[in-house]
Symmetry: C2
Subunit: 711 residues, 2 copies
């Protein structure tokens, strides 16, 4: 850990474990944030000392108050600033003078309102910097630590959550209030609960790093509207996952352009492309969630129960219909229905009525009471062919709901396999659900969510096993040659002859070719590289060569080349008279092959991104492309290729020849290196790369490179 | 309505509105179904007279009991049979003798258990038939009618639901118990609630037809595991929707093979292919739902509020984060964020604080109370550019949740536009949610479900506007010629020359071609039809011609034809020595075109089905195909073509030539006719149909027809 990293870590530790707190700017008016936050600390059984600091009051709720923090005679570990934004900097200054290193700024009215707010945020940052203060916020709900040794509710949330092993971090304070209310009703407990607001100083990265080492936290949840440093987020997340096995679940809003715009108008954030975000999270092992409910559905599975070691589930139900619905959902979520051993089947036969279905899904029948659930669940969990159990209950007239719930808790505690439940309904089943939730048995309103959560937990378990092998560095890439070519570029758009030179320097399989300035020159080049050839117009002003009649394919002899040369010149001069023509590129005609596309782009949040997909017109229609954040491991590249639907076209399915996938991987490796070496390359498209059959390589049939404007 | 239809209708009417009921087979044992069902009728305030019929008791719950139904001195309108299945037929016989035409059989132990159960079911059906009885069940939970003039709970559900305008029909009784519990907690009311079990007599079709005319029912919900008569279901549903505008929502389980197997083991049902079911429902205007929660989410939107006239929504929120989440969801659900008029914006400015976001999503800010929600919602609903409003609330410290809920109810009642809500959280917001639910304002835990429901309601409103134009009958299809060809077929698999003759009889654009028995004959055929030609092996034993070297393309002269003929014969004789070779088909080589696939198959539930998709290898990779149930309207066919992702390849997107879509439609029309005329055609595949540019037609390049084994 760097010095500054350690500093932040220590300061954060104090925010979560202060021995004394000053609430700076509190008042006596019940129902206002400055008052309520003081009261929350006071009444929620904080184990340290809290001091009100209020210029206008002698006491708050019978506690002696101070005019300034500097007036407090004893040391203060942490300050919560609730003054209006216009005077927050003064409070901050005094915190600095008092030696307080750990601060939460609740007040709004900073960067999120623009204008003077931005200046105010800058000012507090300067003061923090000067005194080595770390602060959370501004514009946040505050911080909660449920550890009974601290028991701190330094937030204006209505209620303190239960203790648990989920760490929750949120960019939105308002969402926190909904989450706390939701969690309280479901007995979902938290280790740490943080609303980090504008993250002017302490960022989600710092908080993630803190939770990494927090022994109270087993699962980390993060709500984000804005990714400021995507690469840091990915690195931090994958380190946490690799080192500790703690799952990280992120709900990232602003998926659509409109959503991102709405986010921008409310916290001044900028969203990256959503598909890239998906790819980046997957690559880092982050579980991306679609909404709050899904996030908690998965979180409770991972926080409460062991991760499934396999995907073979036993479904136990007292009703056929829901059993069918659950089976559908399980299969759609790539789970398998476990096939029970003979001895398990014998146990079912012994304990269940004749009308029961003893195959998976096991139907213990509508009049089942706790004894049948006991028999079925115990037998299933003791079967080696079962990786986990999904228990469904509908409230029928004979159903002893609470006894069944208690029995499920008891059996689950005895086994090392995950058990999830779905007691369907609402009022009648509520006491049963309450029992399950208090005993940390994941419960889901819908069998479908139960299956989805099992599947996500299993996928995470699998990803933990995957060791990602780094790709070897590209020792034969000629960085110097490429640098010279790029430095001498006059325009942002590189013509094909130039682009091909760059690719050649990086060892990509570029076809023989050369720029011709006349028909005769074209013929002599073609003679040298061999027929058939292709002719393509070369002009930095023309990005779409086909549209202007700038391409002639499959020219078989000198005569054809000469005619084609003139035809291209004529067509382009007619259609784009203003274009500056550098000449015509004469290139060896590529042998056939499967067309794929490889590309580079730069994402605002995540930096250089590699794209792979099926080429040709289908890239437009099916958008069957995958993204990867550079640098990529060999497995990442493999996953990108296998992730496309068109993978069977390459892998040799249905009697087709297997394509040379290794040569695609090699191209990906070289392009990645190029992207890392030259931040000045804004975009690159190889479309198509023609991939030949196994061991026969590939060929770049067309390439476009665009450089950054401000390179 | 047919006589038997009217009979069932009348009998069903009596089931829902009996003036007197006999519960046949009840007893004094509290907690058993036979007892509880009698008690439910008695205690749930039934407005008629209920008679217990119990061989072993003089009274049940202080009500005089009869040994047999025939002992009851007064007339009995309806009987509920709760005797064990072994004696149910005797009760049925006595019902017949008593003149009871309307019966519910609750008892299980019939078809669903197989063996003797099947016989028992047959026996009660015979008795019903003899006496003109209609009965619901067996193996069901019973029937509920909330109409206060009747107020009948003839079920063993734990509680009677509230009154409302949703009709609910379910094949699974157990699911009903979960649904009732769920609905009660959310104040979701029902008009009729029916568990129809084995549907031995009264089917979902009869019940749908009954609810069609039921003035209490506005929205119909159906849970199905087994579709016995798919075409009747589609016809009934589309008639109901067209005649009454009542939406029909179906949850059909058994989507996966495993799910269908689970269903089969529990009610002995057989599932059709799920994609076809999707297509069939969509074609009939049925809203298919994925799970119970989604079903009720959509149902309450449609039952409580007017259908949206457009998709422009105003989102009103007191929290930025959820506003962003809702915006994302709205856009993903194809809704638009309404652009407010100047006067609306002015109203927002006047009534909302400066920090509020007055663009859509409107953020009234965390400290908003009811007055701000009032101002924002009223202004939005009065804006002509707004088709509906989505109101979000998070429970922040200043939020007066109940007042806001009441205000939303009040404003919604004054306007004709739909208003949906999402009060996020659980405990704190629960009283507010309760207010909304009691006032029939749709409420959703997640903003995402709120947007999905709005989108589905809007799509339904749009589908109501669509007038489906029937296609003209195929007057030039030569049924007689095709009949002769089919009748003379020796094998199930028709060879290409025969298949082409059938297509030609039905006016499909078949390429010129003829069967040759020798190389010389092939040449003379080729000379006649003109070069280039294609040669294909003709053998009823060979389905995959390419795999055996049985095809030679693009033969340009007599010499090539002769060589190719021999090459094919040699190859096939080597690879498939046992195959019976009829000769070689000489066919005009098709000019290029976009490859599409057209097919026919027969679905067990829905009958003849037409398939359309992109041809070539992509049909395997992307499965980009659409299904339609024959007969199809012109709009249905259009929707099939437009429903494929590859549609832009045909429609002339991105500078491509527009394909002759009319000729595809014409082929679809002719194939549909063929499927209707010849049930003996089990499968047909035209792959590819080469579609030329607009007005230039299409050509069948290859066809396979398979006949039914038992034709």
């Amino acid at each position: 850990m760097s010095d500054s990293g350690k500093q932040i870590h220590d300061n954060l530790h104090t925010i979560f474990h202060p021995e004394s707190i000053a609430v700076v700017g509190t008042n006596r008016t019940v129902g206002t944030v400055p008052h309520d936050i003081f009261m929350n600390i006071l009444k929620d059984n904080y184990q340290g000392i809290v001091y009100p600091v209020s210029p206008g009051a002698n006491s708050i709720a019978a506690v002696k108050s101070f005019k300034y923090i500097l007036d407090i005679p004893d040391p203060v570990d942490m300050a919560v600033i609730v003054f209006p934004s216009s005077v927050a900097h003064m409070a901050m200054q005094q915190c600095g003078e008092k030696g307080v290193k750990s601060v939460i700024i609740i007040s709004a009215g900073f960067r999120e309102v623009g204008g003077a707010g931005i200046e105010r945020e800058k000012k507090i940052l300067e003061i923090a910097d000067k005194y080595g203060i770390s602060f959370i916020g501004p514009n946040c709900l505050g911080v909660i630590n449920t550890d009974p040794a601290v028991h701190l509710n330094a937030s204006f949330a209505r209620k303190m959550p239960e203790r648990g092993n989920i760490g929750f971090l949120s960019q939105s304070g308002a969402l926190c209030t909904a989450v706390l209310d939701y969690a309280l009703a479901k007995h979902i407990g938290f280790s740490k609960f943080v609303s980090f607001g504008n993250k002017a100083d302490v960022s989600e990265i710092d908080l993630l790093n803190y939770l990494k080492d927090d022994p109270e936290t087993k699962v980390i949840l993060l709500y984000l509207e804005e990714i400021s440093d995507g690469r840091a987020l990915l690195n931090t997340a994958s380190n946490i996952i690799a080192d500790t096995g703690k799952p990280i679940l992120i709900l990232k809003s602003g998926r659509t352009t409109e959503g991102a715009a709405a986010a921008a108008s409310h916290t001044g954030s900028l969203a990256g492309s959503d598909e890239i975000c998906d790819a980046a999270f997957a690559q880092a092992g982050i579980l991306r969630c679609q909404n709050i409910e899904e996030m908690f559905n998965i979180a409770i599975a991972m926080a409460y129960q062991p991760l499934p070691k396999g995907n073979r589930v036993a479904i136990i139900t007292n009703a056929g219909g829901p059993g069918v619905l659950a089976t559908d959902a399980a299969i759609q979520q790539h789970l398998q229905l476990a096939e029970f051993s003979e001895s398990t089947t014998a146990r079912f036969k012994k304990h269940l009525p004749k009308t029961a279905n003893i195959k998976n899904p096991v139907d213990v029948i509508g009049d089942a009471r706790a004894d049948r659930y006991d028999a079925a669940l115990s037998a299933a969990l003791e079967d080696g062919a079962v990786d986990g159990a999904l228990v469904i209950l509908t409230p029928q007239s004979m159903t002893d709901i609470d006894s069944i719930a208690n029995k499920v808790c008891e059996i689950t505690a005895r086994h090392e396999k995950p058990v999830y439940t779905s007691f369907m309904g609402e009022t009648d089943v509520s006491s049963g659900i309450d029992i399950l939730q208090r005993h940390n048995i994941p419960h889901y309103i819908l069998p479908e969510s139960m299956c989805t959560s099992f599947s996500r937990a299993f996928a995470f378990q699998q990803s933990l096993q995957q060791k990602k092998e780094a790709v070897s560095p590209c020792s034969d890439c000629e960085r110097e040659s490429a640098l010279k070519i790029i430095e001498s570029a006059h325009k942002d758009f590189l013509t094909e002859d130039i682009a091909n030179q760059i690719l050649r320097a990086y060892g990509l399989p570029v076809l023989d070719g050369k720029l011709a300035k006349s028909g005769d020159q074209a013929v002599s080049i073609a003679d040298k590289i061999g027929y058939p050839v292709v002719l393509k117009i070369v002009s930095a002003d023309i990005a779409h060569k086909f549209d202007v009649g700038g391409v002639q394919l499959n020219l078989k002899n000198a005569e054809e080349v000469k005619t084609a040369y003139q035809a291209i010149i004529n067509s382009v001069e007619k259609k784009r008279p203003e274009a500056d023509i550098a000449g015509i590129y004469v290139q060896k005609m590529a042998a056939g092959g499967t067309e794929v596309i490889l590309g580079l782009k730069r994402d605002q949040a995540f930096g250089p991104v590699l794209m792979f997909g099926l080429g040709g017109i289908y890239v437009e229609i099916y958008k069957d492309v995958e993204f990867g954040i550079i640098p990529l491991s060999r497995d990442d590249m493999d996953n990108m290729i296998k992730g496309t639907k068109s993978y069977p076209l390459l892998s040799g399915a249905r009697g087709r020849e297997r394509s040379d996938i290794d040569s695609i991987i090699d191209c990906m490796r070289r392009l990645s290196q190029l992207a890392l070496d030259f931040p000045s390359i804004a975009e690159l498209d190889i479309n198509p790369l023609l991939v030949h059959s196994k061991n026969n390589g590939a060929a770049v049939a067309d390439v476009k490179i665009v450089l950054n404007k401000d390179r």
